[in-house]
Amino acid sequence: MISSSSNILPHFHSDHSLLWGLRFLALIAGSLLLLIVMFLLQESWPAFQHVGLRSFFTDEGWHPSEDLYLLTPMLWGTLWASLGSIMLAAPLGIGSAVFIQYYAPSFLAKPYRRLIELLAGIPSVVFGLWGLVVLVPLIARWQPPGPSLLAGILILFLMILPTITLVVQASLAQIPVSVIHHATALGLSRWSMIRSVILPTAKAGIFTGLFLGVARALGETMAILMVCGNVVQSPSHLFDPIRTLTANIALEVAYALGTHRSTLFVSGLLLMAMIVVFVVMAEGFRHREANAHTK
C-alpha cells in the first residue's frame, strides 16, 4: 500500500512502519521475559524477607512445615539429571544426524527422519507414564528402589535426543555442496571428511542443537516428577532418588500457602538463574570458537 504520490521514495513509508512494527514486536518479546522475572521476584519476595537468602543454601533440609527451606539438593538434582542426559544424547543425536545426512540410503533416510520427528512430538507425560510403569520397575528389579537419577536421565535422554538430531541434521544439510566437493577432491575418505571438514563447519548448528536439548532438560517437569522419586537429597550415585527444582514446584504448589508457596517461586527464580548462567556460558563458548575461526 503506497499512499503518498508526492513521496519520491515510495517504499520509505512502508519501510518505516515495518521498522517500527518490528521494534514493537521485539519490545513485546523482550518485556515478556522481563515481566516473568519481575513476577517471580515479586512472588518470592516474602520468602526472601521471612526466610532470608542464606537459609536456602544452609538450612538443614527441605521441610516447609518446620520452616526449613534448603534448595541446594534440588539444584544438584536438576543439574545432574540434565548433564547426564545431554552426555548420552549428544553423541547419539549427532551420530544419528550424520547417519541421516551422509550414510543412510535414501529409502531409509526419509522414514528415519520422520520417525525422529514423531519422537520429538510425543508429549512428556507419555514418556513419564512409560517411565513409571516400565522403566522404573526394571531398575527396581536391578537396583532398588527404582525411581532414581538414572531413570530421570534416561527419560530426559529420550526427550532431548530428537531435538538434537533434528537441529544438527538441519545444520548439516545447510553446508554448501562446494565444501563437500572440495573435500572429495582432496581425496578424503567419507569419515575423515565428516570429522575434519563437515563437523567443524556445522559447529554453530550442533551447538544450537545441544543448547536446545539442555534447555528442555532443565525445564522438564512432568516426566521427571513421575520417575525420579522426588526425595530431597543430593544424589551420591545413579540409583539415588532425586527431586528437581521443577518437580518441587509442580509437586507442592497446589498445596502450598504463605511462605511455603513463596519459596516455590524462589525455586523458579533459581531455575531461571541457572538458565541465565548456562546461556552466558554458551555465549562465551561460541565467542571463543568464532574468534578461533577468524585467526
Binding site: P64, V136, P137, P144, G146, N230, P241, E252, A254, L257
Partner: protein, 235 residues
C-alpha cells in the same frame, strides 16, 4: 474429595435449576484458606478442623480411611504399628526383619501439604524429618502405580482410591491396622483407627443455598455417590 463433590454438585444442579456448583481442587489447606479469604462459599477439607480453625463451621459428609499398601506378591500380611514406624524411620530396611523376603524395603511417602501425610504422621506420632523415604509421591494414583511396579514397596493411601483399584485387578494388598481390616465397613462403623472426616467448611453458620447444599451432601440422597467413590457415608 473433589471428584465426590463434583458428582454431588452435578446432582444438586439438576435439583435446583439455575444454580451452579463450581468445584476447584488444591488440597485441604487451600480449601480452608479460600473460605477464610472469602474466595469460596464452601471449602473442602479431607480432615477435621484444627483447633486454630474452630472459628469456621465444618460439616462432616463422609469418612475416608488411610491404610498401608503392599504388592500382592509380598508375603507380609500384617504389620504392627511399631514395625510400620520403624520401617518409615529407616530402623527396619529389609523385609526379612518383619517376616518377609530378603529384600530391601522401598518406602513411599507423600509430598508436603497433603492431609494424608499430616494424618499419617499424627497417627504414628512422627515428624516428616524422621521419615526416610525412597519415593515421594503427589497423588494416590502415583503411589499405587509405584507399588504395582515394585514388589518390595510400601506406601499409604486413601482406602477409597485403593479399594477401587484392588477390586479392578491391580496387584496390591491393603494391610490391616491394629488387626482391623481396611474396609469401607470398618471405616463406616468407626473401628478403623486411621480415618479422617471429609468436611465441608464455611466461614459463618451456613445460610441459604450454602446451607441447602451442605444439608444435601449430608443426606442419604447422595449415599450412592459417596459409595461409588469408595468413601464411607455417615451412618
Amino acid at each position: 474429595m473433589a471428584p465426590l463433590i463434583s458428582e454431588i454438585g452435578k446432582r444438586f444442579e439438576t435439583l435446583h435449576p439455575g444454580t451452579r456448583v463450581d468445584v476447584q481442587t488444591g488440597g485441604s489447606s487451600r480449601g480452608i484458606a479460600d473460605v477464610v479469604n472469602g474466595l469460596a462459599d464452601i471449602g473442602m477439607a479431607s480432615r477435621a478442623l484444627k483447633p486454630q480453625e474452630h472459628a469456621l463451621h465444618g460439616a462432616i459428609i463422609a469418612h475416608d480411611g488411610i491404610t498401608l499398601i503392599l504388592h500382592q506378591d509380598n508375603p507380609v500380611h500384617d504389620l504392627t504399628n511399631e514395625q510400620i514406624k520403624a520401617i518409615y524411620t529407616g530402623a527396619i530396611t529389609n523385609w526379612k526383619t518383619v517376616g518377609g523376603l530378603n529384600a530391601p524395603i522401598t518406602v513411599i511417602n507423600k509430598a508436603e501439604g497433603r492431609s494424608t501425610l499430616e494424618l499419617f504422621l499424627q497417627y504414628f506420632s512422627l515428624s516428616n524429618r524422621q521419615i526416610r523415604a525412597h519415593v515421594v509421591i503427589g497423588d494416590n494414583e502415583q503411589g499405587i502405580k509405584t507399588v504395582e511396579g515394585n514388589p518390595h514397596a510400601i506406601g499409604y493411601v486413601s482406602i477409597g482410591t485403593v479399594q477401587y483399584d484392588a477390586r479392578h485387578g491391580v496387584p496390591i494388598r491393603l494391610l490391616p491396622l491394629q488387626h482391623i481390616p481396611a474396609t469401607l465397613e470398618s471405616v463406616r462403623n468407626g473401628t478403623f483407627p486411621l480415618s479422617r472426616p471429609l468436611t465441608l467448611v464455611s466461614k459463618t453458620l451456613p445460610t441459604g443455598l450454602t446451607e441447602t447444599f451442605i444439608e444435601f451432601s449430608r443426606s442419604p440422597a447422595v449415599h450412592d455417590l459417596i459409595l461409588k467413590q469408595y468413601f464411607a457415608p455417615l451412618p
